[in-house]
Symmetry: C2
């Protein structure tokens, strides 16, 4: 999950120096500062580059902007002609500031702190591009897929390749682990799951691994329930993030035999703090620390989170005897 954010006063100060959110992402010195701020405060085992998943649609030629307090907006992609106009030729140049930030962050990190790069998965990016912003049920994107099946497949393939290239570039700039956020995978009907999530993800992972065979990719098909099992078995990913709705006991039994499991503290427990926070941390680690496991949240840190609660969780996890946090 993103480590930087409005819950940190120093982040809010840095944010004010950028004219808008995308300017923040594309200005290396600001992105570097936001990436490193959580590491100055907390004893973290990894850093995640400060960026946004919507830089890829923008690199392909779509208009993207952020409304203060209203989330992302895009010019909606409304028919097959819009898909044909997507142009990956400018991707490397457009995203050069992200790679520059990664290079400089990597140079400043002290091993064994690991640098994580990331991108949005094809379906989640396609959903934003078609809807023109966030949506409760992504009905417009689902209807587009049924109305223009060929164009939709083209869109997913185009995104799979562009996202793979963006991830490869991040590895070449210094990212050591990659995360793939399929934040709205839970909105995909079961009947479409293979074509809409599994296939594009498998294509993307194969393309990354063809160039960077050893880099671990952690997938996050948020909210897909039992289909998490198919996802870890069929996409080629090395690790999986689980949302806070998924039982860690189920994940330990069904997913952990195949991949590393990352998760899944409820971010609202991080707001609440105290005993309810400690109990939730303990319950998750008891279920998952017997196998390959990365302690994390089940979703992003919310703005009202007291930073002290983050420090409390990290100290608690690092103090646990039953797993070695640096291995």
């Amino acid at each position: 999950m993103r480590q930087a954010g409005r819950y940190l006063p120093e982040y809010r100060q840095t944010r004010e120096q950028a004219k808008d959110f995308l300017d923040f992402c594309y200005t290396p010195e600001l992105a570097i500062e936001a990436t490193l701020q959580p590491l100055r405060r907390f004893d973290l085992d990894a850093a995640i580059i400060f960026s946004d998943i919507l830089v890829v649609p923008q690199a392909l030629g779509r208009k993207v902007w952020f409304v203060e307090g209203g989330g992302p907006k895009l010019t909606p992609l409304s028919d097959p002609a819009d898909v044909e106009q997507l142009d990956p030729a400018r991707l490397n140049d457009h995203l050069a500031p992200v790679y520059e930030a990664i290079r400089q962050v990597r140079a400043q990190l002290k091993p064994p702190v690991t640098l994580i790069g990331f991108a949005g998965a094809p379906w989640t990016l396609a959903a934003y591009m078609i809807e023109g912003g966030s949506s409760r049920d992504w009905a417009g994107a689902r209807l587009f897929a049924l109305t223009y099946p060929k164009a939709f497949t083209c869109l997913l393939n185009c995104l799979a390749d562009a996202v793979a290239d963006h991830l490869i570039n991040q590895v070449q700039a210094g990212a050591q682990v990659l995360q793939l956020f399929d934040s709205w995978a839970g909105a995909i009907p079961a009947v479409d799951f293979t074509a809409t999530c599994l296939e594009p993800t498998r294509r993307l992972v194969a393309r990354v691994h063809a160039t960077a065979p050893d880099v671990p990719i952690i997938g996050f098909p948020r909210g897909v329930g039992p289909a998490y099992e198919t996802y870890v078995r069929q996409t080629g990913i090395s690790g999986v993030s689980i949302d806070q709705g998924l039982s860690p006991a189920w994940a330990a039994q069904v997913l952990q035999p195949h991949v590393t499991v990352q998760g899944n503290l409820d971010p609202m427990r991080l707001v609440a703090g105290g005993v309810v926070l400690d109990q939730a941390v303990d319950a998750i680690t008891e279920c998952l620390a017997g196998g390959p496991f990365i302690f994390n949240l089940g979703h992003g840190v919310v703005p009202q989170t007291p930073p002290d609660h983050v420090a409390r969780v990290i100290a608690r996890v690092h103090g646990m005897s039953h797993f070695d946090h640096r291995s």
Copy 2:
């Protein structure tokens, strides 16, 4: 799922006769008309009473209103004192128009058409009451639960009992099957699932069955993924609705040995129509028609649905040789 709705022109006409949505629900002649409209058009096996899940919070004394196009609004329940003020004493009187509509609809239905009553599940109602309306992630309701655990348990218990009484009253008025909509169960963190969903549901089901032991209750814990299994094993429900994100093959294997499974056509396929609709109908019935099964959608009919597509699905399901739709 609700059968009436804006996709039917006759519904939109009836809707205009009510001054607002709740007036529509509480005026028996209008609710009866909306309930019967889909049965005049389509060869349906059941009718579902036209009402809304938020009539129960209103019956307990909370303010509820609907903003045209903006969904439901409630005065937010913000602290334990608000929970203490909930008053179930007026429930029977407040909801009398719903029961009157059920009595009259039942008298007009020709067997074997079945009349279904329904209510919202405790967590889903609590979530609306605390947030004061709909929410993307129900963060406010989740934080309330962690901040005021005793008051939150009281709230769930109060709702479980009030909802049970509302369902019993519906049976006594003529409802033959009951549905329990836990539409936002997918937002409950796994660590809280037993206390927030399973326990209140079990309490409610036991209370209904103490008075009406033979009435089937179909639960719909939308979006809970693998936890559907615990739900069907531990709540005492007789049937379960599955959302379109859940694989029917998984449901056939894991859920159908315990309960009747209802679902789970993607409502957007009903908009698209044609071959993609037929294929999805066939795929679901092939997975589930080998056991106790009710064909249905995975979520509500959307307003842009052509009524002809609904007729097409019903004809297709009724024409299938491998299950007897009247049994």
